[in-house]
């Protein structure tokens, strides 16, 4: 496989209520292993995926907050968050478990337009 493509994973769903966030993360790690140009976008309820302080003991579901923190080890550092989605949920970048780049919807839309492959789950 010679060429590198721009893969963006668009996360618009909250964690735990459905499995999409967890299984999306599993694909992200594989894409990184394939040495593709990987970025993640969080918007709408997807921003809750990286809200700090998940404690999942009570629901007996494996928590995966730490995995977002480990993305850096896989050279996945392009994490984009929609400012409007954060504000609509009373959150700021300080509430998030990883460093991200907060941007407007218009800026996020431009990023999306530059991608070769957009995967959503």
């Amino acid at each position: 496989m010679s060429d590198i493509k721009k893969f963006m994973f668009v996360n618009r769903k909250a964690p735990y209520g459905t499995i999409y966030a967890l299984e999306s993360l599993e694909v992200v790690l594989i894409a990184a292993a394939f040495e593709q140009d990987v970025s993640l976008a969080f918007m709408d309820d997807g921003v809750y995926q990286i809200k700090k302080g998940h404690q999942t003991k009570g629901i007996e579901v494996k928590g995966f907050e730490k995995t977002y923190g480990a993305l850096e080890d896989y050279d996945v550092t392009k994490l984009y968050v929609d400012a409007e989605s954060l504000a609509a949920r009373g959150l700021t970048a300080d509430d998030l478990t990883v460093p991200v780049e907060v941007m407007s919807r218009a800026e996020l839309g431009k990023m999306m337009e530059e991608q070769d492959v957009l995967l959503s789950f």
Binding site: D44, E84, R105, M112, E113, D116, L118, S120
Partner: protein, 98 residues
């Protein structure tokens, strides 16, 4: 980009987010997304306003299945599955707003 939306705008915000985020190109409404193009629905003004930025298509078999093929608002082009394929081919990338 081709934006594919499969949710009714009266139940979920997928179409709203798509319209606010997308830089242009086309929106194809499929499955329950086709309710967005039914004349007189409360999302109509928002979709009409977005037509300056996006070309809007709706999947005919999904319109027909839901009994709304005869009330598609002006400015929307109905396509069959072959037309869906052509749209995917026409745009460099596609995004499904699930």
């Amino acid at each position: 980009m081709l934006n594919i939306v499969n949710k009714s705008p009266l139940e979920r915000n997928a179409l709203q987010s798509c319209i606010e985020t997308g830089t242009g190109g086309a929106i194809l409404l499929i499955e329950d997304g086709v309710y967005a193009v039914a004349r007189g629905n409360s999302f109509e003004p928002t979709l009409k306003a977005a037509m300056g930025k996006f070309k809007v298509y709706a999947l005919a078999p999904d319109l027909e299945a839901r009994g709304i093929a005869d009330r598609v608002m002006d400015g929307v082009t109905a396509v069959d599955y072959g037309g869906f394929v052509d749209l995917v081919a026409e745009y460099k990338s596609s995004q499904s707003w699930l």
